[in-house]
Each structure stands twice: as structure tokens, then as C-alpha cells.
């Protein structure tokens, strides 16, 4: 599993960071950076939470 970001939609609200700060973060410029490529079971739970709070639906947990 991995967290997929639609960069054209992401506007940097940063709610996802509160849910999964170990998986992604807003950099100094305010752009979202993904820190983990593949998700393990526990990470995928936090990844789902991060995807859930994105106001524009830019994040998705996908099965490869």
C-alpha cells in the first residue's frame, strides 16, 4: 500500500500532517512532501486518517 497525492489539488491545508506526521509534512514553502514510499499495516491506518481529513480529497491510500 502507498499514499498517493494529487499534487494539482493539494493546497497545503496541512490537516493530514496532524494525522500522520511520520508519513508526510509541509515543507518551509508550505508544500506537502511525502516521507514514506510504501506503507506497512500500522502506517496505513494513519494514512487513511490523513486522507480522510483532506478538505479537497487530494490524498488516497492505494493498493499496488
Amino acid at each position: 500500500m502507498r499514499l498517493s497525492l494529487d499534487a494539482t489539488r493539494c493546497e497545503g491545508f496541512g490537516y493530514c500532517e496532524n494525522e500522520a506526521s511520520d508519513l508526510l509534512h509541509l515543507d518551509e514553502a508550505g508544500d506537502l512532501v511525502m516521507d514514506v514510499e510504501m506503507l506497512d499495516e500500522q502506517q496505513s491506518v494513519r494514512a487513511q486518517a490523513a486522507a480522510r481529513v483532506c478538505p479537497v480529497g487530494a490524498l488516497k491510500v492505494v493498493q499496488d
Binding site: 489539488r9 493546497e11 491545508f13 481529513v53
Partner: protein, 392 residues
């Protein structure tokens, strides 16, 4: 108790319903996933799960046929940000988000905080005032006119123009009829706007520069400017007024905000969920589809009652209780998905700056008269909220 089956003839926009909407929203939510509203020839849902999944699926539930309830308004909205799907939507939204995304708003934070501090310093010495006309409206008007960079001569018109435009989203009831000539005045002004009318460096001028640079059609410029003008005032004013109203009703919540101002953003999440300044949005099904067992025909409109969804007890425990510890990060008050409010970062920033300014100066808010509801076809808030502030 209102009873609703799978179809209903309730008018969602009668004065009585706009005064007190939640009883009907509850009845709609409890009776079916979506209910056919014969008065509006549209489906309506007050369920959280339905609203969220419909708003996420913009391909099945499109905005491109207009998001208002009358064909007249929808014809006028054609090709605008509100009434478009990707890819056109994304192109138009990009122009606004270049200025409204949180990172773009950083440079405006000091200005907004200063506006809030100055206004609250002045009002603190007055003590008793109207939280809408003297505070919420004045504050958001000052911030927004400056950020958009509007010419002085139209700033005084902005509140009534914004109110009128959003009333047109509903059915052609009395509110919409009264609003028509006022909105018309705004459209006439918009059609005549040229780049040099707008202050250099402002959000408005950016739109016309983007059109010059070929990033968007020339014809899209005026409608985008109207998105700023119409969407930025009544919505934020409603949110601020509703928050102050709740602090008069729940003095303990305000006391706790004062003790820890870092909680202001999360308290505002609960204000937005509980009070839902924007009450509904709508979409049109592009194909025959199914919502939790109810068949929606291609071309049929679905009204998502955001205010009802935000009070859905299957998603929020004790949903009708205002609870500042709830932190409802997934509320739908700014809608959700591709059309999620483009100005939500600015609304949050304005509200955070305002309550940051109020916290050290105001020990408590008290009602100093009878509040008057503002009736609108889209938003819910106060027309007048007379308050007395007790200084800290």
C-alpha cells in the same frame, strides 16, 4: 415532530424553515438516505455519509449544469468556477488558490491580525455594540476589500451585493425576487471592470493579469472576480457572528478559549460543524445511479444539506451538542472534494485573528438585546446580535 417519507412537499426555503431548519433536516435524515423534495424537483440528503460520497464523486455528481435551483441562475453560472468540473474547474481554481492557499496567505497574516487588533481595541472601549454590523461585517469587509484590491466606490456595496448573489442560488422565492435587481447592479459593474480599476498586487488584479497572460479566458475574469465578491463576505460574517453567539450561550467555552488560545482553530472547527454558515450545496447526476438503495436518474439534482450532515448522529456522537473538545476535522461546513471552499484558509485565518484579538480583552460576552436571524437562501447567521462585552 416533522414526518418525512421518501418524498416530501416541504419547502426548504420558507421563512419558517430558514428560521429554524434543524427539525426538518433531522426528519429528512431519519426517513431515507435521500428524499425527493417535490417543491424543488430535487433530491435532498441530510446524511453525512451520503453528502461526503456524493461530493467526492464529481464525475457522477457534476457541478457543470449549475449549482443553483433555478434554470435562470444556472444559465448565468455557466462556465464559472462554482459551476464547472475538472479540467476547467482546476484551471479557474488555480488562479484563486495561488492567492488563497495557506502558504499564499502567510503574507496577509500580519495585516489581518492588525485589522482585528485595531477594531477590537476600538470596540472594547465602547463595550456595547452589534456583533454583526459593528464587528463581523466591518472586519470581514475591511479585510476582503483590501485583499481583493477593490476600488473605494464599490466597497460600500459589497455586503448587499454578496447577500443578493447568494440568495439567487435558491428557488425564486421572495428573498430571490428582492435580490434580483441588487445582483443585477453587481453584474453590470463587473462587466465594466478593467484591470486598472483594481489595486496593483491585489487578488482581483491577479485575475485580470492571468487573463492577459492567457492562463484563463478573458470571459472568465469577471465571473472569477464575482466569486471573490459574492463568496467572501456573508459566509465569513456568518461564521464570526455564529461563533460570538455561541460564546454568549456557552460562557464556559469562551473561558476555556481564553485560557488556551492555541485551541482557537479547533474550537472554530466545532463552530463550523455545529452552526454550518453555508447550509447546502447541490449537484446533478450525470448518469442513472444509486445512493444507498435509492435510484437517482441522470439529470436529477441532489441537494446536500451540509448543516444536516454535520449533525448526523451516526457520524458525530451527541451531534446536536456544541462541544469544543470534539475537534471535528472532517466536518462538511466548507463542503468537500474538488469544490471544497477555495476561501476556507482565509475564513479560518480571519476568525483565528479575530478571536486572538478578543481573548486578552474580553472576559465574557453577554446578549444586550434580542438577536435577529438573517434569512438567506444559502447561509445561516445573524442579522443583528446586540452584545455587551465584559472587559478582562
Amino acid at each position: 415532530v416533522t414526518s418525512v417519507q421518501q418524498s416530501s412537499d416541504i419547502d426548504l426555503f420558507s421563512d419558517a424553515q430558514l428560521e429554524e431548519p434543524y427539525g426538518v433536516f433531522t426528519a429528512i435524515r431519519e426517513s431515507a438516505p435521500v428524499v425527493w423534495m417535490s417543491a424543488h424537483q430535487a433530491w435532498a440528503s441530510a446524511r453525512y455519509g451520503v453528502a461526503r460520497s456524493v461530493l467526492r464523486d464529481w464525475e457522477t455528481f457534476s457541478s457543470a449544469q449549475g449549482v443553483g435551483l433555478t434554470p435562470e441562475l444556472n444559465a448565468m453560472l455557466e462556465g464559472t468556477l462554482l459551476a464547472s468540473d475538472p479540467p476547467l474547474h482546476d484551471q479557474l481554481r488555480g488562479i484563486l488558490s495561488a492567492r488563497l492557499a495557506p502558504k499564499a496567505l502567510r503574507s496577509a497574516t500580519d495585516f489581518i491580525q492588525r485589522e482585528a487588533d485595531d477594531l477590537i481595541a476600538e470596540l472594547s472601549s465602547v463595550g456595547r455594540f452589534d456583533a454583526i454590523s459593528d464587528l463581523a461585517q466591518r472586519f470581514s469587509l475591511g479585510v476582503v476589500s483590501e485583499l481583493i484590491g477593490l476600488p473605494e466606490e464599490v466597497r460600500g456595496k459589497l455586503i448587499e451585493w454578496g447577500d443578493a448573489t447568494i440568495n439567487l442560488l435558491g428557488p425564486l422565492n421572495g428573498l430571490a425576487q428582492t435580490s434580483l435587481p441588487v445582483a443585477e447592479e453587481m453584474f453590470v459593474w463587473l462587466q465594466g471592470v478593467v484591470k486598472s480599476d483594481l489595486v496593483e498586487g491585489g487578488m482581483g488584479r491577479d485575475i485580470y493579469e492571468a487573463a492577459e497572460a492567457g492562463k484563463i479566458d478573458q470571459a472568465s475574469a469577471a465571473p472569477l472576480l464575482s466569486a471573490y465578491v459574492a463568496a467572501s463576505l456573508d459566509t465569513t460574517t456568518s461564521l464570526l457572528g455564529l461563533a460570538i453567539g455561541l460564546f454568549t450561550e456557552y460562557p464556559d467555552a469562551w473561558r476555556r478559549v481564553r485560557e488556551d488560545t492555541a485551541t482557537i482553530p479547533s474550537v472554530l472547527l466545532e463552530v463550523a460543524r455545529y452552526a454550518s454558515p453555508v447550509q447546502w450545496v447541490s449537484r446533478v447526476a450525470t448518469v442513472d445511479t444509486d445512493i444507498d438503495g435509492v435510484t437517482i436518474g441522470a439529470g436529477q439534482r441532489v441537494i446536500l444539506l451540509l448543516a444536516g450532515a454535520n449533525r448526523d448522529p451516526s457520524h458525530y456522537e451527541d451531534a446536536d451538542t456544541f462541544d469544543i473538545d470534539r475537534k471535528p476535522v472532517d466536518h462538511l461546513a466548507f463542503s468537500y472534494g474538488v469544490h471544497s471552499c477555495a476561501g476556507q484558509g482565509l475564513a479560518r485565518l480571519e476568525a483565528t485573528c479575530l478571536f486572538t484579538a478578543l481573548a486578552p480583552r474580553v472576559a465574557s460576552f453577554e446578549l444586550a438585546g434580542t438577536p435577529i436571524r438573517k434569512l438567506s437562501n444559502l447561509t445561516r447567521g445573524w442579522q443583528s446580535l446586540p452584545i455587551q462585552i465584559n472587559p478582562a
